[in-house]
């Protein structure tokens, strides 16, 4: 076990994340996991390591790491004005860092969450098969990474050639976003006019958005569906409280809830949404189950495959 870096400043949020907890939700413990799985998968791909290897999710930025051991890293996701020893570094690439280097993240230029992966296995306790950390739960077995705290790894891989993600797979987090939704849950209880209006409307991301859920505002999504018995909430569920403002529930969502839901947005759409800042504009597009399964199954197969 080797201490590879130390967090020396954390103005924004730094969390250990992987693909989230398994078989935890029936205990009321949320799924959690990396908010942007597209960026997460690519960071591990750049380091030729298993697609679910835990890494650091850096939200907003204003974060400094002192590098204590030679290590290979990959940087994907948001552009948080990262610098290495004061020189700007581009994202969606791997880098060979040396003992004594300083890796710094400024404030967001494009996107909200950056992913910093290390070539090695994080020495970090697990809960429900995951190293992910959820602020509101404070499970005793999952510690918090605080300023002054070190990050240790086992089986650190040596330096290797720099790799980069092909440009066509690098998303543009500033373009208008259309979210793919599979209608389900109580969508059949919403009036047809409401559903039509929903697909024609543009919504704006609200400041209260977080890893738990993205609050949207726009034309009201009206219905007179009565309060239901609470039921399990899947990733990407679009729930519509009585005020008519939809909420898209993401990784740290509550495990169950009773507000009427229209369906779920896709994993790919949720990843893109999690990079949006308040004020971003989003729309919804109806997609079928089979095409969504082909799409996401293809993504998983690609990243789970030979690395």
């Amino acid at each position: 076990m080797t201490q590879v870096c130390r967090l020396t400043r954390a103005g924004g949020v730094v969390q250990v994340q992987d693909l989230g907890r398994k078989q935890s939700m029936h205990h009321g413990v949320t799924e959690s996991g990396a908010a942007d799985r597209h960026a997460f998968f690519w960071a591990n791909r750049l380091l030729q390591q298993p697609y679910d290897t835990a890494m650091l999710e850096i939200t907003v930025g204003d974060v400094v790491f002192d590098i204590l051991h030679d290590v290979r890293v990959a940087l994907t996701g948001a552009d948080l004005n990262a610098t290495l020893n004061g020189m700007p570094v581009d994202g969606w690439q791997s880098y060979n860092l040396r003992r004594g280097d300083t890796l710094e993240f400024g404030f967001p230029r494009v996107g909200l969450r950056a992913y910093l992966a290390f070539a090695g296995e994080l020495d970090w306790p697990q809960s429900y098969g995951s190293r992910s950390w959820v602020e509101k739960e404070q499970l005793p077995e999952t510690p918090v990474l605080k300023p002054g705290g070190g990050v240790s790894f086992t089986s650190i891989q040596p330096h290797a050639l720099q790799t980069a993600v092909p440009q066509r797979f690098v998303p543009n987090y500033t373009e208008p976003l259309t979210l793919d939704i599979l209608l389900g849950y109580q969508s059949h209880l919403f009036p047809a006019e409401t559903i039509d209006a929903f697909f024609e409307s543009e919504f704006e991301v609200q400041p209260a958005s977080s890893r738990m859920g993205y609050q949207l505002a726009g034309p009201k999504v009206t219905h007179d569906i009565e309060q239901l018995y609470s039921e399990g909430i899947a990733y990407g569920a679009v729930q519509v409280p009585p005020d008519g403002n939809p909420v898209v529930l993401l990784n740290d969502r509550q495990t169950m809830g009773g507000y009427p839901k229209l369906g779920c947005i896709s994993q790919r759409s949720g990843a893109a949404l999690s990079q949006r800042l308040p004020g971003a504009k989003v729309r919804f597009r109806r997609r079928g189950y089979d095409e969504l399964v082909r799409d996401w199954g293809g993504v998983l197969q690609f990243f789970q495959g030979v690395y």
Partner: protein, 229 residues
Amino acid sequence: MRSVPDIAPVSVDTWLLTWSLDEGALPDAQLVALIGDLASRLRRQFGAAIVNTVPAYCSVMVQIDILSIDWGRVETAIRSWLSEIDLESDLVSRHHQIPVCYDPELGLDMHEFSTLKKLSPGEVASIHSQLTYTVFAVGFLPGFAYLGHVDERLSAPRRASFRATVPAGSVAIADRQTAIYPSASPGGWQIIGRAPQLPAPGDFNAGDTLEFVPIDRTEFDRLAGVVSE
């Protein structure tokens, strides 16, 4: 056998099984025992291919690993269990006995609550602890079990003002439901007592049964590990 659930996908890897209840009916203890048992059977039988299950009231959400299993196999297993299961003898659930102290110093709303219900604190404690409850769902907080149904004499709406911090272990009532707060949290339920031992996230499963065992303050302090001066 009760009616077959409606089974529909809600996302690429997640299905929802929903049983319909009669208009105006309270959730059914036998149904939740069935869905709790079904969820744990799925986790046992298919292991890691079942990513998550959420049994709650009258539904079960099932999330699978789409690369390691076809939904068709899971659905076939579900349908065959449902057609074969004997509700009287096959369901597996646990029974819990939870010590609780109804001292108004710990049950922060006990005075207000008992006044509202025109009962004495002792009567509230006695009515609350004489029934066996069913775990209808686990959620809101890790290990927070929604228990029902509270005796009608104790049914009361949530507090008008939300409490910023409900102490861990608080035993509280909202409408016909009761619960134990496993950790400190904001909350609006009426607090009538406190459990000296905090439930862990994995303690309760939907379908389990539970009864409250009244204890006095001395016993509470002993179990909670409070050292007297």
